[in-house]
Amino acid sequence: MDGDTDAELARLLNAALTGDEQAYAVFLHRAAGLVRRFARRRISHGGLDPEDIVQETLLAVHLKRHTWRTEAPVGPWLYAIARFKLIDAFRRTSRSIEVLADGDFDAPAPEPEDSATDREIDRALSVLPAREQAVVSSISVDGRSIGETALSLDMTEGAVRVALHRGLARIARTFGRI
């Protein structure tokens, strides 16, 4: 990853950390592209879906974004998380592990066209406590906003936010383990 890309990612992540949702969305899309390429290069045969690694990494990036030092480059941090999640997934599936040397990860890979519904994240979602599951599904799968979700589930917006955060944290903990 060249300097420009990293500086741009750092700018986006910094903006995201100060509450800029738009910048955060752009950052996560770029990070997803980089991690997708990273995972595809390292998963040589079946058993693991690179997109599961992408999603697990994005969740970890989100929940652990306070571990990025604002003056540090984004690349080493992002790839360290991706590598950790990939190795973890290899271990879970007890497949042979193939850790390649770090090459250049310049060209991000596009998202796969199929929108699978039997991903690891959906399995993790399906075992959430009812209320958290309702909130996370409403926002992620049905594409509702916080406000719409609060209305449809007869909750306050604050309660929706809390359930969303807890649900995401719980998904991260059970990801790939069920």
């Binding site: 996560l28 571990t67 080493p76 941090w77 936010r161």
Partner: protein, 211 residues
């Protein structure tokens, strides 16, 4: 759920986590309080503390234990962040062992050979092996909690270093109680007690430091 939906969902979760710096301050504060409470309640400083503080051997114990504590903490805060493992910081952990080896060389040169054995065995070996782990276990838990708040990508290593930091802290307190001041005693008994905490940290990391 496809990745686009996940990303949109993540952007809507604006809850901010406690910054790492504050997590470490909390962990350090907690560790100090737990260690101090246990130390003063159970053993306390030796009666001739002021007198002992005028001898180099007594003071040197603190140089070694505080060096371990400080260098360990420096390495630990980096290990809590993914991709931040620093060879330089891990190498700094050698400072305390080097200080100890230097003192042992001086001790061996300064003391008649027939006294070396009794200095090594001392009179508080069991107390030392008991109280360093006992004082250190609370701080170890506090440091593991801070690591858990972070995202250590080498969990076992991070847990072991957390044990070394907890051991350095516990040994600093214990050194104020113990009247075996020879660096030979420190090497023979402090060291295994501290390594025990490091092993405990490494093993529990596999369960505690999942993220």
């Amino acid at each position: 759920m496809d990745t686009r939906h996940l990303i949109r969902t993540l952007t809507l979760d604006g809850r901010k986590a406690v910054p790492m710096a504050r997590a470490w301050i909390l962990a350090l504060g907690g560790a100090l309080v737990i260690a101090a409470l246990l130390f003063f309640a159970a053993i306390g400083p030796r009666p001739d503390f002021a007198l002992a503080a005028e001898t180099w051997r007594f003071l040197y114990k603190f140089a070694v234990t505080l060096a371990l504590f400080a260098t360990g903490l420096w390495a630990l805060v980096a290990l809590a962040r993914p991709g931040m493992r620093s060879r330089q910081r891990l190498a700094a952990l050698l400072l305390a062992p080097c200080l100890l080896v230097a003192a042992i060389l001086v001790e061996v040169a300064a003391i008649p050979t027939d006294q070396l054995g009794s200095r090594l065995i001392g009179s508080n070996a069991m107390l030392c092996m008991t109280f360093i782990p006992l004082i250190g276990i609370g701080p170890l838990a506090a440091f593991l909690l801070a690591l858990r708040h972070g995202a250590p990508d080498a969990p076992s290593l991070a847990g072991a270093v957390a044990g070394l930091v907890a051991g350095g802290l516990a040994a600093t307190f214990y050194a104020a109680h113990c009247n075996d001041d020879s660096p030979l005693f420190v090497a023979a008994w402090y060291l295994p007690a501290i390594l025990l905490l490091a092993a405990l940290g490494a093993v529990s990391a596999r369960f505690v430091l999942r993220w």
